[in-house]
Amino acid sequence: MLLSVITLLVLAAIFGALLGFASIRFKPEGNPIVEEIDNLLPQSQCGQCGHPGCRPYAEAVANGEEINKCAPGGEATMLAIADLLDAEPQPLDAEHEADPVKQVAVIREAECIGCTKCIQACPVDAILGAAKQMHTVIESECTGCDLCVEPCPVDCIDMVPVQTDIKTWHKDKPNSYLNLIATDKSGLLIPNSETVA
């Protein structure tokens, strides 16, 4: 009786010490789930979710924030997060409805007064310029977040849709009526618009 109690106590002490050591030695830096959620977000840093960037939103989601607030990511991102967290998918609310067209900011350079306000607003440092010098947007780095438009005192920044070029173009989905096995369908002989899409 005593022997078994001592044995168990000793074992408990050993494993306790091991666990205690491991929890200090192998402590993960930051919350790993935040990292994973952040990887799913589109990194536009637009702040439309009400958080100052993608990472803060990822942190908020890890702490129980709604997962349907990422407008640039749209439904795909929401579903991916739901999948990751094993949460119930939530429909995007009207406020965070995805904007289907990708945009970039373009500065009308002749009108720029060189105030650097947009440079300070840009979350990815994609605007080039200096005080009292003309500014311009580095198109390949612009995430289309819209944050530079508001601070501009002369309203010389436009959001323009990204043009499809040979590199980004791809074929549309064929408009086909491909379904499950024919006998799976009950009584529906004429394709309706939902199944055709």
């Binding site: 990194q43 040979i166 074929k171 086909s176 491909l178």
Partner: protein
């Protein structure tokens, strides 16, 4: 000569050839078009820089545009004439997106601008040969349009031992390679000999489908004196022209998925490319024209034509007697893998080997029906995939699921769509899915870049804040020090006064 009778690879189909329309028609030269349209962006998106300005006179064979790397193939003017405009113009890319295009108004004069004296290619080193092929702007004329010089250089580095020449031409309607092999067999063989030497290969095999007996005869005759070139006859089976399937049919070896044929020590080139290489090395002439089959039920007089690169499709149609009343669709390339041409003013580029005008019977625009699970697409697929399963996933935008079923190994050959009794646009689904996956990949790259930039900005802001703080502290310290000094001075003065 050796005939392989057994089924050369799994799957494959026997589409109706329709080759009889142009099989007998000798290659004709297209009258010099009035205007030439040279696109300054390649199919893969690489941009070329024009070396001439509007108003400049350009000579036939003159270099007019080049790119930054070897992957950007230089462009040469196919005519003598004047550059009249550089502007956005419709391209042969299936998207129909307008690209920057050099427009040359041609003159009557049809002679080469330079006198290209014949060179003895034996005096050239291997590297010189490859460099000349690159400079001549030669791309694979089979359809993919990959720069031939880059391919040859890679083959030389990897120690390729066998050069396989693709005379398969498995696409229905097309006979341009067939006619080329018959009429220019000696030039093709000479080109093969040069390529063998350029990459240091041991032997060359020319594979021709058994439905081209005259080509086989012509090539065997031309190569009869040359020890290391032999002609192999392969059965007619679509897609024999695919690199992997040709290798399998001729050598019995399988190129592993995701690997290149050079891993097996085999390099594949098209017959027309071999001829272009001959012209480049023997006469130093750039690639400025190619043979194109103009055929289909919508063409009055189907022909094989030598066409200057950059000729608008409308000129080709004119030369072939125009369209018939029933013509419905223009296709660049063969009917299986070709792409719909967006406009009759589209100029031909280096990778277009056929121009088809299909009529109502040939265009099968039927309503598609449900998948019957008949499995015909599975037995037709030359890559051993399950097309119906891949399509089911990509239809509901589950592109990862489609990839799990091997979408990345799909050749987009269209054999599945051809055999499907329900007329399901299978291959169209796959090319859409491929495009989507590429788009997602570039999106992910962009996100990664944005993340990096955000981090960099955060670091910069922290650094700046720290610098500001340090400055403030330094200033405060200086102020304190000054105050202390002042105090000390005052104290000293007081003390002095007190004494």
């Amino acid at each position: 000569m050796q005939t392989l009778f057994a089924k050369p690879f799994r799957g494959g189909i026997h589409p109706t050839g329709h080759k009889e329309r142009t099989e007998q028609s000798q290659i004709e030269k297209l009258p010099t078009p009035k205007r030439i349209f040279l696109g300054l962006q390649q199919r893969n998106g690489t941009l070329l820089t024009p070396l001439v300005k509007v108003g400049d006179y350009v000579g036939k064979g003159q270099l007019v545009a080049k790119g930054a790397s070897d992957m950007a193939v230089p462009l040469h003017s196919p005519v003598n004439g004047t550059v009249v405009e550089i502007r956005d113009y419709v391209s042969a890319h299936p998207s129909g997106i307008k690209i920057k295009t050099l427009i040359i108004k041609s003159s009557e004069d049809n002679s080469w601008s330079e006198n290209y004296p014949p060179i003895n290619p034996d005096t050239l080193s291997q590297d010189e040969m490859i460099q000349r092929i690159l400079d001549a702007g030669i791309v694979g004329l089979g359809g993919a349009g990959f720069p031939s010089g880059v391919k040859l250089r890679l083959a030389k580095q990897k120690g390729v031992h066998t050069l396989l020449i693709n005379g398969g031409e498995c696409e229905p309607y097309l006979t341009c390679d067939d006619r080329l092999m018959q009429e220019h067999a000696s030039e093709v063989v000479a080109g093969i000999e040069l390529m063998v030497r350029a990459i240091g290969a041991k032997e060359a095999l020319v594979a021709v489908e058994d439905n081209k007996p005259r080509s086989i005869e012509a090539l065997s005759h031309a190569a009869s004196e040359i020890e290391n070139i032999s002609v192999k006859v392969v059965p007619s089976l679509y897609p024999m022209g695919s690199e992997r399937h040709l290798i399998k049919a001729v050598t019995g070896k399988t190129v592993a998925p995701g690997e290149l044929s050079v891993a097996l020590g085999i390099l594949v080139h098209n017959v027309a490319t071999a001829r272009a290489v001959y012209h480049a090395l023997r006469f130093n002439r750039p690639l400025i024209e190619r043979v194109i089959t103009v055929s289909g039920g919508g063409i009055e007089q189907p022909k094989n034509l030598v066409v200057p690169i950059g000729t608008p499709v409308s000129d080709l149609l004119t030369a072939c007697g125009g369209l018939t009343m029933s013509a419905q669709r223009l296709v660049a390339g063969g009917p299986m893998m070709g792409q719909v041409i967006p406009s009759p003013y589209t100029p031909v580029d280096k990778s277009i080997g056929g121009l088809l005008a299909l009529n109502e019977q040939e265009v099968r625009d039927d309503q598609s029906h449900d998948c019957l699970r008949c499995g015909r697409c599975v037995s037709a697929c030359p890559m051993g995939l399950m097309p119906f399963q891949m399509a089911a996933h990509s239809r509901v935008s589950d592109y990862e699921g489609a990839q799990d079923y091997g979408l990345n190994n799909c050749l987009l050959c269209g054999a599945c769509s051809y055999v499907c009794p329900s007329r399901i646009p299978l291959v169209q689904h796959f090319s859409h899915a491929r495009g989507q996956i590429n788009a997602q990949r570039s999106m992910a790259q962009k996100s990664a870049l944005a993340r990096k930039l955000t981090d960099a900005r955060k670091q910069r802001l922290d650094r700046e804040a720290a610098a500001k703080q340090a400055e403030k502290e330094a200033k405060a310290a200086a102020r304190k020090k000054k105050a202390a000094e002042k105090k000390a001075k005052q104290a000293a003065a007081k003390a002095a006064a007190g004494e």
